[in-house]
């Protein structure tokens, strides 16, 4: 089962990953990281198809894809 792994401390909350996910399962978390950004997160890992579009889009390499 593929899944995105978020490095929350690296995330800058730009939301770019949210729009490329074909499954629309990336959403912004409600908390802040230590830099003050709201990091992104996956709302439903089970739906992930491992396409890595989110990871490839992230300017901060804050997402890895694992399977």
């Amino acid at each position: 089962m593929p899944k995105p792994v978020f490095n929350e401390e690296r995330c800058k909350g730009c939301e770019l990953c949210t729009i490329v996910c074909p499954k629309k399962i990336i959403v912004m978390a409600n908390h802040f990281n230590s830099k003050g950004y709201r990091p992104s997160s996956c709302s439903d890992e089970s739906q992930c198809i491992g396409c890595a579009l989110c990871a490839k889009t992230c300017p901060d390499v804050a997402i890895e894809i694992w399977k």
């Binding site: 593929p2 401390e9 690296r10 800058k12 909350g13 730009c14 939301e15 770019l16 729009i19 490329v20 950004y37 491992g50 890595a52 579009l53 990871a55 490839k56 889009t57 992230c58 300017p59 901060d60 390499v61 997402i63 890895e64 894809i65 694992w66 399977k67």
Partner: protein
């Protein structure tokens, strides 16, 4: 067992960057690093950082780096390459750096057919210094030094650098790409790879112009920036290949 199918390339150090949220500089960095990985040249690559938001690129790439004065990266890279002809030398420059103050240096590196690769990040603005007009800023674009919009009458039309360099014989590969969506990213990476290959084959100068965003100084969100780029930059700066490297074969 869990396996990582996508992650950070070896040529990109695992450190946070100073780039603003959503800025494409980060994506472009990663693509360049992936190409270095794939070509297995991490050990002989020497990068030349310029002056602009990417001035600190030397902190991010996992290769030897030289920080160059504003606009002079092609000259610095020339010096490096002439000492290490077997090195893989690339410059990473913004549009202000390359198309304003550094015009002479990029033109002559291209004219000489210098065996270097230039990654030219065109975000139509001076990012680092706070959003002034670049030679690439669009007509009517409001910036801090064109507060009433860029006026063609006084500032002229934006320079299309790739098209201009295409008139020079030494420029063997010239392409304009974007990283605003996954499909374009794939093309961008292919172009960057081709550019490095042209260099490694010793054919001459290669450059990839990457249309990029500056959410901070454009005054928009990262997502809006992508849209603005598509609507405003792409019509004036068409994506494409201006010299394909094929001319070289003959």
């Amino acid at each position: 067992m869990a396996e990582r199918t996508f992650g950070r390339p070896e040529a990109l150090l695992d450190v946070p960057t100073h780039y603003c949220p959503g800025c494409h500089h980060g994506i472009i960095h990663r693509l360049v690093a992936e190409v270095i990985d794939e070509l297995k040249v991490i050990d002989r690559t020497i990068g030349v950082a310029s002056v602009g938001c990417s001035a600190l690129a030397y902190d991010y790439f996992n290769v030897d780096m030289v920080q160059a004065p504003h606009g002079r990266a092609p000259a610095v890279a020339t010096g490096v390459k002439r000492v290490h002809p077997d090195g893989v030398v690339f410059t990473y420059q913004g549009d202000g750096d390359i198309a304003a103050i550094g015009t002479a240096e990029i033109v002559h590196a291209a004219a000489r057919g210098e065996r270097i690769t230039t990654i030219f990040v065109n975000n139509a603005i001076y990012g680092m210094t706070g959003g002034q007009m670049a030679p690439t800023s669009l007509v009517n674009q409001v910036t801090t030094t064109s507060p009433y919009g860029r006026k063609q009458d006084s500032a002229g039309m934006p320079i299309r650098l790739s098209e201009m360099l295409a008139t020079l014989d030494g420029a063997k590969y010239l392409a304009r790409v974007a990283v605003n969506n996954p499909a374009n990213m794939a093309k961008a990476k292919a172009a960057i790879k081709k550019a490095f290959e042209i260099q490694i084959a010793g054919l001459g100068f290669s450059m990839v112009e990457v249309l990029s965003t500056c959410p901070t100084n454009w005054g928009m969100s990262a997502i809006e920036s992508g849209t603005w780029m598509e609507k405003n930059m792409m019509p004036y700066y068409p994506l494409g290949t201006f010299r394909s490297g094929e001319e070289v074969a003959k």
